[in-house]
């Protein structure tokens, strides 16, 4: 599987799982659908960015660092928005797992994603 597609799929799945864990926070359960959709979209966006980075840069440490940074930034953007019902911010609950999801996608795209096929030089 190519790196961008792998990033996209993994980002979406982990994003959805990440959003789904909000169910364990009773006060936000009424917004579960929105949380899962938003978290999946965040995962998709992060996955695409990380996948494209992996396609350009072949380095496991850089890939992991980039994934971590993208995951953290996207999670920060979400966490900065206060919860519609409670008005509270959930920085730790959103940024820490979001960063780890980015790190996992960064690792997976570098390690398991297939490099784009190269065409042989022609004269």
């Amino acid at each position: 599987m190519n790196k961008v597609l792998l990033g996209l799929l993994l980002g979406a799945v982990l994003g959805a799982v990440d959003g789904g864990t909000a169910w364990f926070t009773p006060e936000v359960r009424p917004e579960m659908a929105m949380i899962i959709v938003g978290s999946t979209f965040k995962g998709l966006l992060g996955g695409i960015l990380i996948g494209f980075f992996a396609r350009k840069v072949k380095s496991l440490p850089l890939g992991i660092s980039f994934g971590l940074a993208v995951g953290a930034l996207l999670a920060l953007a979400i966490a900065a928005m206060p919860d519609g019902l409670t008005g509270k911010h959930y920085y730790v609950q959103i940024i820490v797992p979001g960063s780890l999801v980015g790190l996992i996608v960064g690792y997976a795209t570098q390690k398991y994603g297939a490099a784009p096929a190269t065409t042989p030089a022609t004269r």
């Binding site: 609950q93 780890l100 996992i104």
Partner: protein
Amino acid sequence: MNFLSDQALKRLRDGAEMPDLAGTRYRLLERIARGGMGVVYTAEDENLRRRVALKVLDVPGTDGELRNRLIREARVLAALEHPGIVPVHDVGTLGDGRVFYTMKFVEGNRLDKFIESVASVPDRLRIFLRICDAVAFAHARGVLHRDLKPANIMVGPFGEVLVMDWGLAKILRGELSSSMLGADPEATVFDKPKPANIASDPTETSVVTGHGTVMGTPGYMSPEQARGDVEHLDMRSDIYSLGALLQFLLTGQPGGVSLPGGPRLDKSLTAICAKATEAAPAERYPNVQEMALDVSRYLDGLAVGAHRESIFDRAGRLYRRYRFFILLIAAYLAMRVLILLFMHR
């Protein structure tokens, strides 16, 4: 009366055995090995100013049969141009009638010595795959090696792997026609009885026996080769030797017995060795490429054709293959649980 010491006698004997290279472009340097058919020296090619290995029949005035065999060996080598097969440079005759040929001088170690410094199984398997490349090439050209063993593999200083000593090679068919080699394709099969040549370590020394039918090295030689069934030998005989070689690389013994304190051999690798060394040729891998493919699949963490996995074997292999990724996911889930516990405290 003064007697000569044993050392002085040995020097005199060695000196007397040294071939006289007068009239050739080579200058003898030192003796490096002795085989069943001849002696290998290092020599300097005075025209090109480089060191070469020079193999010469060890008995002056040898009969035509051995002479033909050495010429044939040189021609087989010349026809097998491959990075994994030692290249031959020249063939000729000395003043005393002995035939010689020169080949690339490989500075390095024999495989059995080299692997003492290679602890990692994947690294050993990668060396094995390079041996397979060379043997597969020879098979594609219709040549069987018939004496594959660690002592006949050299590993150079830059990691190059070279298959040496094609003195027992058998021509099956193809581009290496008998006219090109100047000998009968079955010329390595002796007609006249000769005394057995078996050294104290039977796994190290090639055996060339009477009736010309048994040639090879015990421990590495296929059962059909050991029986002297020369006419029915095919590439699966070399596959048997490759299986024994793989066992040696993994366990230190061609028989596949692990050394005390050594690592336990993986089931898939055991199965590959077992399939390659089946007593019946039909049960072995049909060609070297298929054996090499199984070894490559093992290296890539994939299932190998020689081993039917149980669900536990499969789970274990997948875990080994994706270990870090699985641990990352586990860390993520653990961290999630910790956050939940923290929130509900």
